[in-house]
């Protein structure tokens, strides 16, 4: 309706600056506005009429019905109670319970209610971790919905661009990853060919892709890269080779290390590992990644060279070499003259090789060690990120059994519990709660806040078995002088547990 725009324009400019055109007046009069009305009256009455006429004459749009229906659901949508729980999770009251909800949903062959899908699909676009859990529970409705929104297509279609030469950096990585899986040797040739044109960062990303298949060809190629002019490339090649079992590089370094170590038998004491620091650093050692100048271990550059070598070697080589378990190797290292150096290097090596036995050995060593002052700077928190549920629980239970009274804020067991991503076994949960209850019962200082216990409680609320709820509601020292400072946190912990219990029960039905 042109008249609507015209009167809006005049209203915007003002009638004192512009006159209402005669044809507009005529049109407004024909709509029912009084002929003798002033311009202002005409605009105000006319606008009212035009708006009402426009609304009254709204014409629905002709839209062909696309007969695209979602397939019938093969899995049952979770029940009303579970939907309620899900709303409480996505509304933020128990947001950390989402992975557990999705796990149980998939476990019981149920799928999500459709209305929740759009928000979760949107979140999945930036969270591959969420998508990996969500995709099993979207049902046929979710599959259909993804087809309706182009933005969500990339969640399900891993289209690999065909043209390597014209592909973007990210696409090139995807192409390379696919080729590396299907024709491993071709992938190395592709990297060799592309090498001169690529930035150092992209080259390193290529090497990380190649590393996914550890074969002889890769080793040969990485050996050539030990002579690359860029330090970052050489360092990456060293790490890739070090992680390859029985690569020439790791054997060379291990042979050098063995030549520096010997066992000294002692009559009344345990055997001692004698260590000779590497005096000279030849070119082959530098080529194998040992930096002659770096000083990251205390004890000077020579000690640092030893540390660098140990940090590259797979920890399992030591257990095979000495034919004793990891804990005994650690004892032997501790008894040597370079105990701190060797243990720190073993933490680095374990972190590089992700060796589960050694993660357990090192965490246990750190938690159980009585010489607190000696090991206070030994940082094992990176090992905690890769710990399996089993090892986490073994180590934490041992640590809790040893703990006497209050857990100290910076103690390794506190750090382990605070940072855990593992599910807590019942024994561990009961030990931690007993410890807290005992401390609460005896503590009298209201001003001591115990923030780390609050963090542990928050962590435990989502990682321990929710069916312990009934058992855990008992034995809280409500008569304690500091109970009022803790009641809220304990209540929160118990109500989270209760919610999770009901949530899991709801999904079983």
């Amino acid at each position: 309706m042109g008249i609507e725009k015209e009167i809006s324009r005049i209203a915007l400019v003002g009638t004192q600056r512009t006159q209402l055109p005669a044809e507009v007046r005529q049109q407004l009069v024909s709509l029912g506005v009084k002929k003798d009305a002033s311009d202002e009256e005409m605009i105000l009455t006319g606008a009212a009429l035009v708006t009402k006429i426009k609304k009254s004459n709204f014409i629905p749009q002709q839209i062909p019905l696309a007969k695209s229906e979602a397939k019938e659901e093969s899995e049952q949508v979770c029940g009303p109670r579970s939907i309620k729980h899900l709303y409480m999770i996505v509304d933020g009251a128990f947001e950390n319970a989402l992975p557990e909800f999705l796990f149980n949903l998939s476990k019981h062959d149920k799928c999500l209610p459709p209305e929740i899908l759009p928000d979760l699909l949107d979140q999945s676009l930036t969270s591959p971790e969420l998508w990996s859990k969500l995709k099993h529970s979207i049902g046929k409705r979710g599959e259909w919905l993804i087809q309706q929104n182009e933005d969500w297509h990339r969640l399900i279609t891993q289209t690999i661009p065909a043209n390597w030469d014209e592909a973007s950096n990210d696409d090139r990585l995807r192409i390379l990853s696919k080729v590396r899986k299907e024709v491993p040797g071709r992938a190395i040739d592709m990297v060799r060919e592309a090498w001169p044109q690529e930035s150092v960062n992209q080259r390193i990303k290529f090497l990380k892709v190649l590393e996914t298949v550890k074969d002889k060809e890769l080793e040969s190629y990485m050996e050539t890269l030990l002579d690359d002019r860029r330090k970052e490339v050489r360092r990456t090649a060293v790490q890739v080779l070090a992680k390859m079992p029985d690569s020439a590089l790791s054997n060379r370094i291990f042979d050098r290390l063995k030549s520096l170590m010997s066992i000294k038998k002692r009559m009344l004491k345990k055997d001692k590992l004698e260590i000779q620091l590497p005096d000279k650093l030849d070119d082959s050692m530098i080529r194998d990644g040992i930096d002659p100048r770096v000083q990251w271990f205390k004890g000077g550059v020579k000690a640092s060279r030893l540390g660098q070598m140990v940090a590259l070697i797979s920890p399992s080589k030591w257990t095979s070499h000495f034919e004793v378990p990891a804990s005994e190797v650690l004892e032997m290292f501790v008894r040597s003259d370079w105990g701190e150096l060797l243990i720190q290097a073993m933490v680095e090596a374990t972190n590089l090789h992700k060796d589960e036995d050694w993660i357990e050995a090192l965490l246990s060593f750190r938690i159980e060690s009585k010489d607190r002052q000696r090991w206070q700077n030994l940082n094992v928190s990176r090992l905690m990120e890769d710990v399996s549920d089993k090892v986490f629980n073994q180590v934490a239970i041992k640590g809790m059994k040893q703990a006497k009274g209050l857990l100290e804020e910076n103690s390794p067991i506190t750090t382990l519990l605070k940072n855990s991503v593992s599910l807590w076994e019942d024994e561990l949960t009961l030990l931690v709660m007993k410890n807290l209850q005992t401390w609460l019962a005896g503590e009298t200082s209201r001003y001591w806040n115990g923030w780390h216990y609050r963090t542990i409680l928050k962590k435990a609320a989502f990682t321990c078995n929710p069916f312990l709820h009934d058992q855990l509601t008992a034995d809280w020292p409500e008569e304690s002088r500091i109970w009022s400072s803790w009641e809220k946190e304990i209540e929160e912990f118990l109500s989270t547990l209760y919610f999770r219990k009901k949530m899991v029960e709801g999904l079983v039905r």
Partner: protein, 455 residues
Amino acid sequence: MHWTVDQILALAPDPNTAKRGQGLATQRKWLSLETDGRAVWGQCKSSGSAHYETAVDLKGPAFRCNCPSRKFPCKHAIGLLLLAYAADTDGFRVAAEMPEAVQTWIEKRDNKSGQPQKERTEEEIKKSEERKAKTFNARMDSMQEGIKDLENWLQDLIRVGLASVESSASDMMTVRRSTKAHNSSEFWNTIAKRMVDAKLSGLGRRIRELSLIQGATPDWPARILAELSDLYLVVKGFEKLEELPEKLQKEILSLSGINTPKDELLSQKGIEDEWMVVGQFEGMNIDHAAVRRTWFLGQETGKYALVLEYDYRNEGFPFHWPKGRVFKGEMLFYPSIFPMRAIMRNHQITEHAVDGWGGCENMEEFLADYAKTLGQNPWLVDYPIAFTNVYPQMNDGVLYLVDENQKGIPLLNVGSSNWKILALSGGNPIEVFGEWTGEVLNPLGIVADYRYVGL
């Protein structure tokens, strides 16, 4: 009736209160738990030395607690109701009589919800009527002056042009040498205050709300002009008030700010039905008070009712209308040409959940009804409509609701609401309730597979 955990949790004002309420649904948190069948009450231990006295009137339900929480119902009330119905506890002692405070509260509630008032003498009634007439006449005089003032202001504004609004506002800011306290809303507030002084509070509020439109979208001048023209219609209507039909007179008075007093409404007979909560919208008004619009649809009568509630003191809304539930009660409508705004009396939640409604299936019929209603009431803003057997269809990035004749109306997209509707439909017909603005449907509730989902 028996309440399930989900029903009780749905009464909580937010997920956190529901969560904390669940934490209190254990006997050890309570010093006493009692019931007489009509209500439950108890003393909940607090973290300090005090105890909170909580009561729930099971007829309703309604809640009372002396805790300092601003959430309503508070966690204690939710916990108490959970204990009464959902927890496996027999810890409630059956009491012969209620504590005095609970008794008084229940009596007050009974009186409010329609118990007969104390009878007045004839003379008292006469005096009261005379007083009312005098007050009304004085108010009308003041309003008429205000209407004249508004008419002049509207015409002046069109004369100088809407574009001058921004500069007027900035001029005022310069004069007052203010930085943040004064913004362009001052321009609208000045005339709005004059309207309030002239007892035209309804018009004053509408003028203040214009500041929210100004500059908000590229088409703001057209939108403001539409609003101003509506105000002008009120002005013109007011000038000929006595010549208009009674219902239109009441409509204009109501728009101006004279609403039927609640007492008067309560003295009338309402419409009994089982009322489905088909849509609900919560937001903030221009005074930063929480506003809740709850739409009901009568199962038998097919009538729509809008219960409008404000929470100026941040105390929570007085009643709870969980979306998708059905309430039995008497709906009392404010007089209007197209009565929609209402209050509910003697309401009681039923065990039923909304699983569908026999709504409109034809877009052209719906639009014809709308046009007819708009013809009767030109100030109609949001028109409620429940559709059945309609298909959400995406067309050029806009979601339409399409009937079997392939006629579609556009849907407003708030957040991810359009995708939710599409997800619920899965390409199949659904039922949708929403507010039609004359240009777009604001969807508030969906029924798909016999399940209600609020948007």
